[in-house]
C-alpha cells in the first residue's frame, strides 16, 4: 500500500467525542490499518496536504498486546511532535508480528518540521488513550478506532 493511496482516499475518518476525537479506519491487514491511523493522526495535527517527506524516522515498538502496541506506536509519533516539532503525513507500518506473547511493530515515518508559515495548524494532540479503543477483524477487514486527547 502506498502513501498516496491512503492520503488520496483518506482511509481514516474523524468522529466526535465530548472533548476529544476518534480516529477510525479499516484496512486489509493490521499493518495497513495502523498506517492509516498514524496518517490520520498526522492530518489531525496539520490539516494541509503539504507536509513533505524531508525527514525519515524508524519506529520500533514492542508491547504486550495489540491495544498497547497501537498506544505505544502512536505515542512515539507524539514524542516527535513535541520534542522535535516533526509532523508525519507519510507513515508505513512495515511489519506487525507476535512472537512468544510479545507484539512488535516496525514502521517508517516520513515528514518534516512544523512550519507555521507553510502548514495549516490543526489540533495539538496531547495523548493517545485506551478509551473505547477497538481493533477487530470483521470479515477479513481490520477495523481500528482510537480516541486521542486534544
Amino acid at each position: 500500500m502506498s502513501f498516496k493511496s491512503v492520503v488520496m482516499t483518506r482511509k481514516f475518518k474523524f468522529t466526535e467525542h465530548s472533548a476529544d476525537v476518534y480516529i477510525e479506519t479499516s484496512g486489509n491487514n493490521l499493518e495497513e490499518a495502523f498506517s492509516s491511523i498514524a496518517i490520520g493522526l498526522g492530518f489531525l495535527i496539520i490539516e494541509s496536504d503539504n507536509v513533505d517527506d524531508k525527514v525519515e524516522k524508524k519506529i520500533i515498538v514492542e508491547s504486550e498486546d495489540m491495544e498497547s502496541l497501537l498506544f505505544d506506536f502512536l505515542s512515539e509519533i507524539l514524542i516527535f511532535q513535541d520534542a522535535e516539532s516533526l509532523i508525519f503525513h507519510n507513515v508505513i507500518v512495515e511489519k506487525i508480528e507476535k512472537n512468544k506473547g510479545i507484539w512488535s511493530l516496525i514502521a517508517k515515518a516520513k515528514g518534516e518540521k512544523f512550519n507555521p508559515k507553510k502548514h495549516k495548524q490543526g489540533t495539538h494532540v496531547k495523548a493517545i488513550t485506551y478509551h473505547n479503543m477497538e481493533i477487530k477483524n470483521q470479515k477479513g477487514k481490520f477495523k481500528v478506532r482510537v480516541l486521542v486527547d486534544i
Binding site: 466526535e16 465530548s18 476525537v21 504486550e64 498506544f71 513535541d82 490543526g122 485506551y130 473505547n132
Partner: protein, 493 residues
C-alpha cells in the same frame, strides 16, 4: 486475539435519586462492583446536558475503584472523559486504595492564574489592541510553541521539576511574594525527576515557558460585578479594574508522564485492568513502589506547570510595562491566586467523623478549601481560598471562595470551568472562525490566535453555561461567588 471492548459503555440510561434541587445520587448497583454511590452536583438544566453523554456511567465506573470514600463526585461542569469524567473528584484511601493517572488526566496541573492590576477598564480600552499584540509577541503560543528560554542541561531541567515556580523566581521570573499566592506555593515538595522518562523530558524541555494550544489562553478581563464585598476586599478585587488570566498546564511533559505511568501500571498489575470497566481507570495500588513513583513524577509535572505559568506571568508583566510605560509594581500586577485543575494530592478529609488520609484526585476540578485551613495563604485564611473558574472564550469568568461546607460535601472542591457540550471537532465544523471573531467583536472582545481552528474549537457555543455552573456551586455551598470577570481581549493558543 481480537478485542471488542465497551459493552459496559453501551447502556446510557442511568436512574438517579434526587437528594435536593442541586444534588443527585447514582445508586450502588448502577454498574457492577460499585463501592460507593455517585454524587452529581447539578441543576436540572445542567443535568439534562450531562445526561446527553456518558458522564453518569463514567462516574459510576469511578465508584468501583478500591478504597473510595463517600461517593464518586461529578461537578456541575462535568462531561464525558475517558475512564474518569472531566469535572470529577475521587478520594481513595491512602493505604487500601490507589492512585490513578487517569484520575488526574493527561494535562497534569492544567490550571489558571489570576493577576490583578490597578488599570481601569477605560484605560485598558485605549491600549488593549497594542497590549494583545505585545502579549502575543512576548508569550510563545500555538501548536508546538517553544519557550524562549533554552534549558541548558537535563540537570537544570530536573531542578525545575523539583522546585517548580521557586526555580522561576530564583532565575528572575517574578518576585518572591508571587509564590505565597499559588496553590502549594507553586512547588510540591515530594516531586522527584528521578522516575520521569527521557521521552517525557524530551517533550517538555523545548516547551517550557509556552502557552501551547487547545483550550489554553491569556485573557484580559475587567471586574464587572462584586457579589461579596467583604471577601472581594480581602482578595483585592474592585469593580471596573482589570485583570489578567493565564490558563495553561504542563505541556508535553505532563502528557507523557501520564501515558508512561498508565503503561507501567498495566504491565505490572494486569489483574487490576481485568476488574475495571474501562482500561483508562487503571490505578497503582496504594503502598506499591509504582504508586509512589507516579505520585513523585506527577508532582514534578505539576511543578513544571507552576513554573510555566510563572514564566508566562513574567513576560506578560513585561508586555504590560512596555504598553503602559510603568513598572508592573506601579500597575499593581499582583497574583491573586493560581489553582490546579488536574491533580492528585495526599490530603486528609473527614469521613463519617473520622480523619482519613487519601489520594485526592481532582480531574477538571478546583480545590476550594474553606476558612481557617492552613493550606490557604495567610492573607486569605480568614475568608477561605480563592477559586478561579474560567469561562469559555468570550464568556464571563468567576472568582469564588472555598467553604467549610465544601470540605464536608465535595472534599473541598468545586467546578473548573464551563465544561464542553460539543466536541472540538464538531465545533470546528459548526463555527467559522471569522464568524466567531465577529460575534466576539460585537461584544467588544478582541481576539488574537495562533490558528483559525483554535478559534472555532473554543467557540462559546461549544460550552455549557458558565453562569449556571457557578450558580450551582454557590447554591450547594461548595464554593461561594465573589466576583464576575468580563473578557476584553483574548490570546488563543
Amino acid at each position: 486475539m481480537i478485542y471488542e471492548k465497551g459493552d459496559f459503555m453501551k447502556n446510557m440510561n442511568v436512574e438517579l435519586k434526587k437528594i435536593n434541587d442541586f444534588e443527585w445520587e447514582i445508586p450502588i448497583g448502577t454498574v457492577p462492583n460499585m463501592n460507593v454511590p455517585g454524587r452529581i452536583f447539578a441543576s436540572e438544566k445542567l443535568l439534562n446536558k450531562i445526561k446527553q453523554d456518558r458522564t453518569l456511567l463514567q462516574c459510576a465506573g469511578v465508584a468501583t475503584l478500591p478504597g473510595i470514600y463517600k461517593y464518586a463526585i461529578t461537578l456541575p461542569d462535568g462531561h464525558q472523559g475517558y475512564g474518569f469524567p472531566i469535572g470529577g473528584v475521587a478520594a481513595l484511601d491512602y493505604e487500601k486504595g490507589g492512585i490513578s493517572p487517569g484520575g488526574v488526566g493527561y494535562d497534569i496541573n492544567c490550571g489558571v492564574r489570576l493577576v490583578k492590576t490597578n488599570i481601569s477598564k477605560v484605560e485598558m480600552c485605549e491600549k488593549i489592541k497594542e497590549l494583545l499584540e505585545k502579549l502575543f509577541e512576548y508569550v510563545p503560543s500555538g501548536l508546538g510553541s517553544k519557550g524562549k528560554t533554552r534549558i541548558k542541561s537535563e540537570k537544570e531541567f530536573d531542578e525545575i521539576l523539583e522546585k517548580g515556580a521557586k526555580w522561576a523566581i530564583k532565575k528572575g521570573y517574578g518576585k518572591e511574594e508571587d509564590l505565597k499566592h499559588l496553590e502549594s506555593e507553586g512547588c510540591l515538595d515530594l516531586a522527584s525527576a528521578e522516575f520521569i522518562s527521557h521521552n517525557a523530558k524530551k517533550r517538555g524541555m523545548p516547551q517550557l515557558g509556552s502557552l501551547g494550544s487547545g483550550n489554553h489562553f491569556l485573557e484580559i478581563q475587567y471586574v464587572e460585578k462584586i457579589y461579596n464585598e467583604k471577601v472581594a476586599k480581602v482578595f483585592g478585587l474592585e469593580e471596573g479594574k482589570t485583570t489578567l488570566m493565564i490558563h495553561t498546564g504542563s505541556r508535553g511533559l505532563g502528557h507523557q508522564v501520564c501515558s508512561d505511568y498508565i503503561r507501567k501500571i498495566e504491565k505490572e498489575f494486569p489483574e487490576v485492568i481485568k476488574k475495571l470497566p474501562d482500561r483508562e481507570l487503571v490505578y497503582a495500588p496504594a503502598g506499591t513502589e509504582l504508586a509512589k513513583k507516579y505520585l513523585k513524577s506527577m508532582s514534578a509535572a505539576a511543578n513544571y506547570a507552576w513554573c510555566n505559568r510563572q514564566m508566562i506571568l513574567h513576560w506578560s508583566r513585561q508586555a504590560f510595562e512596555k504598553v503602559f510605560q510603568k513598572s508592573s509594581e506601579e500597575l499593581g500586577m499582583d497574583v491573586l491566586y493560581d489553582v490546579a485543575h488536574n491533580i492528585a494530592k495526599i490530603e486528609t478529609h473527614k469521613v463519617e467523623g473520622e480523619m482519613k488520609k487519601v489520594y485526592l484526585h481532582r480531574k477538571g476540578a478546583t480545590r476550594a478549601f474553606g476558612p481557617g485551613n492552613p493550606e490557604v495563604p495567610d492573607v486569605y485564611r480568614e475568608v477561605g481560598q480563592p477559586v478561579i473558574i474560567p469561562g469559555s472564550m468570550g464568556t464571563a469568568s468567576y472568582v469564588l471562595v472555598g467553604t467549610n461546607e465544601g470540605m464536608e460535601k465535595s472534599f473541598g472542591s468545586t467546578a473548573h470551568g464551563a465544561g464542553r457540550t460539543m466536541s472540538r471537532y464538531a465545533a470546528k465544523k459548526k463555527y467559522l472562525s471569522e464568524t466567531v471573531k465577529k460575534e466576539l467583536g460585537e461584544k467588544n472582545i478582541l481576539i488574537k490566535a495562533a490558528s483559525k481552528s483554535g478559534i472555532s474549537e473554543e467557540a462559546p457555543g461549544a460550552y455549557k453555561d458558565i453562569d449556571e455552573v457557578v450558580r450551582v456551586s454557590d447554591e450547594t455551598g461548595i464554593a461561594k461567588i465573589v466576583a464576575k470577570l468580563r473578557p476584553m481581549g483574548v490570546i488563543k493558543g
